[in-house]
């Protein structure tokens, strides 16, 4: 019914993304820096007997990180739109507020999926072989993570009215979310108190699901998935639905 409005909101986000050269460059460079500079160095000092080497272990984590940053950065556009007034143009249009939420959510999800999936290209160079059918499952999981985290970002962005506030959020929520997601080392190695944080972190479940699909598991293998994959998928789905509802509500609110 309001597909035209949704379409135009999505297409605007895409235009903006591809026009911002710096953002495009960061998007491509950040995961590669993590993989080859951080991962490349650490893989030499981390000695594992079985399963994946550290570089291979890092790939699902870096995919998760890419999605996390991409999704959260997409939602900054809401704050940006508010600061530069464009949000008002959308708020007074004869379309339900939820249209804006759906549009932003779809754009953020699609951009993240695109960036996350693009990283699969490096998998063969790391010695990871992925079956064709697994690529499909990975795609599903990547969509789910992107959707969940974009919805989460949207919920936060709906409440922020300055870009400064957004930077604070970046440092106090997004970076810990990355570090405490099992992306860089297994969650099991964390002290108990930090483990609790990982339990409510949607990215932990996302990265874990990706590990299921990309790394070999089994007895005695430490660098592998740690939770059942069905639980990962259920948690992400529930989280996505809750966050979508909350952010739709946040937009519906009027002074």
């Amino acid at each position: 019914m309001f597909y035209k409005a949704i379409y135009v909101i999505v297409s605007r986000e895409f235009k903006r993304f591809f026009r911002q050269r710096g953002r495009l460059l960061t998007t491509l460079a950040r995961p590669l820096l993590w993989l080859f500079i951080v991962g490349g160095g650490l893989t030499k000092i981390i000695d594992v007997d079985a399963g994946a080497n550290y570089l291979q272990f890092l790939l699902p984590g870096v995919m998760g990180m890419t999605i996390l940053f991409s999704s959260v950065f997409s939602t900054i556009s809401v704050v940006w739109d508010r600061e530069f007034g464009f949000l008002r143009e959308m708020l007074v249009a004869p379309v339900p507020r939820v249209t804006i939420v759906i549009g932003k959510l779809m754009a953020g999800t699609m951009l993240s999926v695109f960036q996350g999936m693009a990283l699969l290209v490096v998998a063969p160079f790391l010695g990871i072989t992925i079956e064709l059918v697994d690529i499909f499952y990975i795609f599903v999981v990547v969509v789910l993570i992107s959707f969940a985290i974009t919805a989460f970002g949207l919920f936060i962005a709906a409440r922020l009215d300055s870009l400064e506030g957004f930077n604070v959020i970046m440092n106090f929520i997004v970076l810990p979310m990355f570090f405490l997601s099992g992306a860089l080392y297994p969650i099991d190695t964390l002290p108990q108190i930090l483990k609790y944080v990982t339990y409510v972190n949607p990215l932990s479940y996302g990265v874990d699901a990706l590990k299921h699909l990309m790394l070999a598991g089994g007895e005695g293998i430490t660098l592998a998935a740690e939770m059942p994959i069905y639980f990962d998928v259920i948690f992400l789905s529930v989280f996505a639905v809750v966050m979508t509802t909350l952010s739709a509500r946040a937009f519906e609110r009027r002074g």
Partner: protein, 331 residues
Amino acid sequence: MPLAIEVKDLVKKYKNANGKEAVRGVSFSIEEGESFGFLGPNGAGKTTTIDILCTLLDQTSGTARVNGFDTLEDPHGVRSSIGLVFQEMTLDNELTAYENLKFHSYLYNMERRLSETRIDEMLEVVGLTERKGDFVKTFSGGMKRRLEIARGLLHRPKVLFLDEPTLGLDPQTRRSVWGFIDELRRRHGNTVFMTTHYMDEAESCDRIAIIDEGRIIALDTPNVLKRSLRGDTIYLNTTDDDRAAVELKEIFSLDVKRLEGDGGLALIVESGEKFIPRLLNDLSVDVLSVNLKRPTLDDVFLHMTGKEIRDARVSNSTENARSVNRRFSRR
């Protein structure tokens, strides 16, 4: 005549500002095709009222109807009837002029072919045809304003809201912006609701409401409002103001205001130019300077509220009259 806007006992209390009421019981109605000016200083409640009428804010109490739709019960109906030009810029700098208008046409569900011709037409009207494919970030303030007006009118809204549409523009651009708006009104007969604190802009409205501290303190045509002042103001400087004041009272039985600061007298008479010769003839003290000022909405506002509409004022009145006004306002 059907009503374009109908507002009854509108009240808006903000939660944060110690429950202070930004709008304190405002009522008015605007007929279709009318241009209506909302005049008042910053913080008088102008933007709050517009935001309520545009469904961006919910009122605390009272009702507001736009084009027959209740703002609370049918915000969607309201939104499809209105066009807006906001006080602040609401264009996307990263898009071109065309893309900004295209975005708007999609949001308002305009038919594709219609939107293309309308975009060209509106760009022509605001003189931006040549800049169609340029990014908005390369535009000057005046060009952005014009583009916003083109956008606000793209879907042919029944009611056009203009919240300080010429704020921060130079006089020349202000004139051309009003030229566009008047032209479009003539052609399409839109209802225009605008807020401003430029007096000369308000004077071109069919009716004006003067709003101060959340209340409408006067509502009428510009002429009636000016007439309510009953005459011209004469500013007088003499060698002996005390004696002049006494004489004015005795000879003409006029109420004379003493001005603070540099001194001088101010009096209101029915017809200034006829009175000045008599004044010069009959006064026994020497007159140093006489200044005649016809009533403007500035004076009306000053008269009604006891304060000037804004601090840094640009108006047509003379420098002298301006400083006198300042002195008045300090009382």
